[in-house]
Symmetry: D2
Subunit: 358 residues, 4 copies
């Protein structure tokens, strides 16, 4: 279990960091969608290691192939199978940690769960798996675009350096201008300096990715357990290193009074709108047509270049030494992953909503 | 969709606030579990309206009946069907809002989604549905108890009044001593005063529920999409009025360096332990045997006794006036709901974990 | 697992033969459907024991209550919860078989699976559970009717007495005229005599129910594993006492040559039709717009009034003596159950088909 | 939907007949299973085209690669991704039928469902998809073998030529000795002659595959909708060209009296056995420890070398002429597919059964 996501627009991923390859099967993509492979490449590039000085310098080519489900440039309604072969499989690099549990990685828990683990690069627990999500998310985005829905994520915090503006006060079109993917140029510079400093001290740091979905029609979401924000929350919490999720007013909202927090309704043309949007575009688990926005907290990357105390499979005390090429901060590369997961949720709920009424 | 939760230990709820009744079907409860009905009653009492001066004075008897799945006091492995008949159905009370959209309720979104809605007391979107969850959660708790797992939630914040202690520094056995369910007696008094003041001003306020699960064995959780914390997050975000979820170091963790945040492993007898627990008992989505802890943010209750601007189904401007008996703050009654949902997730993942190895 | 059926239009049943009650939760019924309770009553009557001299004389009132999901006569899109309380719970009747395994019942297998079982009337394995299916099926039929789809089942064989006509050669409107539900009046008489004779010899006999669905649009069904006929087959095989399923040409079709069996296409107005219908209205798992027809084989009822060899839970040899009021042949009462399950499959696939294209 | 099968041991297939490749993702294979790749190759050979004079002479190499989920020869509990690249993609061969609906194929229904279709070799509806099933089934078989369960299928009928022996009266170890996979050498010769004659007349013919599972422990199966035989039935009906399924006494059982049909219980050592096995090893949807056996009816292959009447996408009358290399009878190659699907069902239910009791 646990390797599939979605109900109708559903993905199943497979693959380990250093196996032969990884991939994704997308079920339920409606027939007739034009598949723009160049766009998938572009999205993959945004997630790719080695894209800037503040990301890992590891090389992964991330070339995907679409094996099925697309005919003469269009989706056929059958499963879209995509594979990405692993070319940079330096397995030997991992000999030194083969039986050691790296602190705050999934080494120990996988071993407890399965009694066996592919220790190379974290195996299945590696964030490399998210390459498959980004590829699938690109297709979900194409579908959403067809319906006028767009999703934009950006870095709003690195360590204690936080944007003070709300998303409306930012020019999100500038997000990709900076290698840290923060739309405020000055804060972006500060964040880059901080990450650089952290990297030099052989350490890592956390951050927050914020995300906005616009153009979402009212009526998406399922009552009770599959509330739209519950599914978005699960989607985000399923990304490596995520520790928290909040939408709309979030944790700050708890301090407010109902009279402040409630979003008054008014009519604008033929549309019901709200004067404020503490609801974050979702009420009772169903979209209300306003912008959906949420935040995702990422912990500092667990792989550091500093010696750490640990134990091995035999229960002996050992020292884990950092080695290899790793990200000092995960959020710049997490931006497209957050967008991909949001796109997958919205594409799925858009299809589900077609079955609501007689 | 959206009315079921869980994969093996799975619940499906049904019922509206003012329909004939509501209920839950529990599938996958293992056979042979002693079902203690008195315990279910006790859990229901903790969620019940009218239990103290700081909760709604509405009367709901919440008497449940087990229709199936239990024979001679034990679960039989077949679905446990439970129903709670609604006795206090003052439908007429709702005539004044029949076609109005109450701000920050689900009235508008249900109408957009379904084109029809049971407006009485919020219909399906009412928190009354959580009675069914608490009943089911009580059974999940019985199962967990059998395996030495216990779950304790408590109120850690009301408005801006926040506990400063970590859960280890608190005496959680005192939680039920106070009507606000805060284990720190002094802070509890302050919280009660604040809620009382808010109630008198005909307003409402938000809060945070913290939760700890102890005795969880290492190895529970599924890789990738169904990470244990992702499922817990979804479970919590599916509770009415929840705006955020974080576990372990949470949003604060983003400010830390990897060298601070990482939890060093050491051997304690035959068990691998961690020196710190920023991971919140979960690494790579799988439990590591340490305590699992998380926080859930609740917004202020949307029903206030103050006039509010809105529109009706016809698009006319209207005033929504508060009426009826409502909670000024939801968190005291949310404590057993948070526990119930956590219990359901852990019971489910405990069963799933039996299938991991040959 | 195993107590739910369907993907979007989904039912979950609960309840044992002699528990407090049984019921069904219907998820995914589209909002806005007029719910005709009288029609549900009528369908329940067709399944009800004691309806004629050739069925069991057991009295079960089968009065259902709709607890949720219907407001002012229409479905609201939220789960429709229905309960049927058991009034005739003569549990004492079952003391004599409490620890005995009745031959060809589920007593032994439930005991092996769960280690505990509600032995009264077969518990969960009792065909009484199908009352919940018929109630849910009635609602599915209402939805199908709205879209011009109708389903008609009838008894085509009892023991070796088989109808020779195809369904097109029969007047299916006469099915309900005979207590055996065979549309050929003469064959119906013979069947009734046979069942009566079997009943007098304290024995039981098997039979076949045939079923036709008309008005099904082309394009329903999912490729590969969830082919429309595979889901229909599973639905039928899930009914108590069913041993086989075939559709279209069925087992006889294996004897044919491709040149005979293939259904030539031709154009009729704006519709593509087939000259013959060996495909049974389904090609590649997807409906082609022709009538869907299939057959369901029922074994003789396992409860006979003749002494039988068996063992008990302790492994001792015992004699099982028939007692109580049972059906000598299950097919007359199985007709509405077959229709109900077919209706549930088609309602579900109709909704799924809305998500196929952009 | 429709491209996944199973609940815990779950497969998802993708790929078209003439796309770049096809594959399968296996989730839920327990960790620690030794993966014997040579055995997978062997199973694929049994399904492969061109294996004898009575199968299609089409060449498909069917070389699979395991991309993930296996480490140092053992399953790791993570998804096993397998791909088979298509090398013999003679797309041009299909130009002549690009817009024509071949009778009794899925051309028309896919077009109705999706509005677009990959017409090359039937696209997704091609039996080539079953290569992925056989690969996955081989892994399920390895797991079953570990638990002492084996599955053997064989051809029991071609056209009207039917074996008269029950499976107990046959020497199933001889099945693979004949190219038609019938364990009775004399009948096998007759079947081969018949298929050869049919092939020469440019026609096709149907047949029946019988299957036996031995060593299945009592207690596998889920009550009500997911009865073991219902899931087996669905699995079989999901195979291309299948028209019917029966288990145990099957359609013949309807003619019997309960007193004949019931399987008396007796004690044999510490095991409860049945004197006869009309139940086919399954009672109330749960295995009882006796052999499970069932039959699967296959229609004649739809592709014949004879001209046929049809229409095209534009609604014009056309003639469809046979071309290419096709099987005159599908059953010899269907034997390993039936086994694979049976293995997948049993592996899945074996894992599920671990969750039944406290």
């Amino acid at each position: 279990m646990g390797n599939s996501f979605g109900k109708i627009f559903k993905i199943s991923t497979f693959g380990e960091s250093h196996g032969l390859g990884l991939g994704v099967v997308i079920e339920g993509c409606p027939a007739g969608l034009e598949i723009d492979e160049a766009f998938i490449v572009q999205e993959m590039q945004r997630r790719k290691p080695g894209q800037s000085k503040i990301t890992t310098q590891r090389k992964e080519e991330d070339e995907f192939k679409i094996l099925s489900g697309v005919f003469e440039g269009k989706s056929t309604g059958t499963p879209i199978g995509m594979v990405i072969m692993n070319t940079d499989q330096k397995s030997k690099d991992y000999g030194h940690i083969a039986d050691k549990f790296r602190p705050s990685h999934a080494d120990f828990t996988y071993f407890e769960k399965y009694g066996i683990r592919d220790y190379r690069g974290g195996g299945r627990s590696s964030a490399r798996e998210t390459a498959a999500r980004v590829a699938a998310g690109a297709i979900a985005k194409m579908m959403l675009k067809h319906y006028g829905i767009s999703i934009q994520a950006y870095v709003s915090q690195v360590g204690s350096l936080a944007l003070e503006q709300s998303y409306q006060e930012l020019d999100l079109s500038k997000t990709e201008d900076s290698i840290v993917r923060c739309p405020d140029p000055q804060k972006a510079e500060e964040m880059i300096s901080l990450i650089d400093e952290v990297r030099k001290s052989r350490d890592t740091i956390g951050g927050i990715v914020s995300c906005v979905a616009t153009g979402v029609p009212a009526g998406l979401g399922e009552p009770v357990f599959d509330r739209l924000h519950a599914e978005l929350g699960k989607a985000m919490l399923s990304i490596n290193a995520v520790k928290g999720f909040e939408y709309g007013s979030g944790f700050e909202g708890v301090k407010m009074r109902g009279s402040e927090h409630n979003d008054a309704f008014y009519q604008e043309g033929d549309r019901v709108r709200t004067r404020t949007n503490h609801s974050g575009g979702i009420q009772g688990g169903i979209s209300n047509g306003e912008d959906i926005y949420f935040k995702v907290a990422f912990k500092p990357v667990a792989t550091i270049m500093i010696d750490q105390e640990s134990v091995n499979e035999g229960g002996d005390s050992v020292t884990v030494s950092g080695k290899g090429r790793h990200d000092p901060c995960v959020v710049p590369r997490a931006v497209p992953i957050v967008e991909a997961m949001a796109a997958l949720v919205l594409a799925d709920y858009l299809l589900i909503s077609r079955t609501n009424k007689l």
